[in-house]
Amino acid sequence: MLGFAQLFASRLVKAAAILIAIVVMNFFLVHAAPGDPAMVMAGEAGAADEKFVAQLREQFGLDRPLYEQLGTYVAKVVQGDLGFSYRQQRPVWDILAERLPATLVLTLTAFLLALAAGVALGTLAAIAVGTWADSAITVIALLAYATPIYWIGLMLSLLFSIQLGWLPAFGYETIGAGYTGLAHVADVAVHLILPVITLALFYMASYARLTRASMLEVRGLDFVKTAKAKGLTQSRIVTRHVLRNAILPVITVAGIQAGQLVGGSILIETVFAWPGIGRLAFEAVLQRDYQVLLGIFLVTSIMVILFNILTDILYGLVDPRIQVSQ
């Protein structure tokens, strides 16, 4: 396991470097945001005379040189202080922490569903290459590529909630139902179905296409011929030999696309009123609450880095050679 541990450590170092770069970028964006914080605070306090603003500036170090301010900012972020939202009169981190679990549930479920269903569909298409099932999967993938996810969400809720009444159209739980224990979990799960499917659909299509192409490529390689010559069953060849090798590029792409998945949750949560970070981003945009928006930028970036580490682990599990060769 030493090899894998080393690889993992090197990934962590890289993740830390990327994180620092993102924090620095965030600092400059905070600076670029309209509205001098001192002016905002003065406005909140109801007194905007020059002296008071200057005093506030000094108090919060806004008159210091930029690099010094950057140092203070980084030190604060490291301690979990992401600034203060004057609109909500609360620390940004508190607001984010409250919303984080809902987003994590949504994105993780969607990510795993997209991966599992995408690989399954792609395998099916590759086995049945040239048949109607293959064409159907290809056409669906093409359509999923071309459709904005928020619109898919609206259309699904139009069909399944408004027309058929099968699933709740929005929210995280039935308000006022007061479920506890398993009943609560089931209630949240029912609310989760539409947002998760909507978010997963695009990536499912993307992974299905990739799996199909990758399997068709691997299928012709020598070791597969050997497996056939050995007299292994078709299903064993597909699952143990072809799929296991074909899935590697899929995992790589899944890692790269993790960022888009997290970004997509802004749209999905807006459509389904899912009370997570994405919905918060929409509210922050409406209120022009830049502190919260930049906090979201930082937190979602960290989420992407964590997703990347997750795919690295998956990669290591699927391909044990990594432990040896790296």
């Binding site: 071309a146 928020y150 619109w151 802004i266 981003a281 970036s301 989420m303």
Partner: protein
Amino acid sequence: MMKSDFWRAFVRNKGAVLGLVILIAIVVLAAFASVFFPGDPWEMATAPFQPPLSEDALLGSDMLGRDIASGIAHGARVSLLIGLTSTAAALAIGVTLGALAGFHGGKVDDAIMRFTELFQTIPNFVLAVVLVAIFTPSLTTIVLAIAIVSWPPLARLARAEFLSLRTREFVQAAITTGQSSTSIILRQILPNSLSPIIVSASLMVATAILLESSLSFLGLGDPNAMSWGYMIGAARTVIRQAWWMSVFPGLAIVLTVLALNLVGEGLNDALNPKLARSRG
């Protein structure tokens, strides 16, 4: 490559031809939007909440009595304009960085690829939202934000092309004859790496249109430009009573993006014939 060869390969892909036909129709709609639908798409044209196939609103009207069909036609302009300009901007950033990385290699390559990786890690839609919100929504900020979040794949592609072409004889010959780096990059390597870049760019126009529609769906569109995403976002709250307000602009997006993707695949078949055949 001969032009006729290109066309023969392109039309062999039926989907690409279909895509091209749809795309031409959308371009015509966009170009003649003010002829087909004179008047401001923001102005009230008829009674609010008119269902489709009404007398004076073929696709219905929205909650302020604006004609949906007119909004779609005028929105086509914005979508195509933003799709094309932001792709051009992303190409400028991505191909420049990729070319420098691939041509120079070594430390330059390392530094540029780290930078690219950083931008690939950042959740690109979140960054686009932050950028547009901070620098106030306008056509320029939207185009720049989309370009800033979309260039990394182009940089990687250009880098890979430059890396492989750099070792080829004609480039070596150019280096020996003492041509400057700029001239080699622009005159020798770039023209030979154009086909994959063109294919990626055509697909990127589609992604850019989706990104723009997502931004304007969230209310981050240019407040003066009618856009498909804005129409869907504004009609979202009344979807129970008036499905047509969100359905038709959405279909317009799907058709446009689908057409662009199909054309992109056709271009791929026509420009990279070897790849297409081996895939088949």
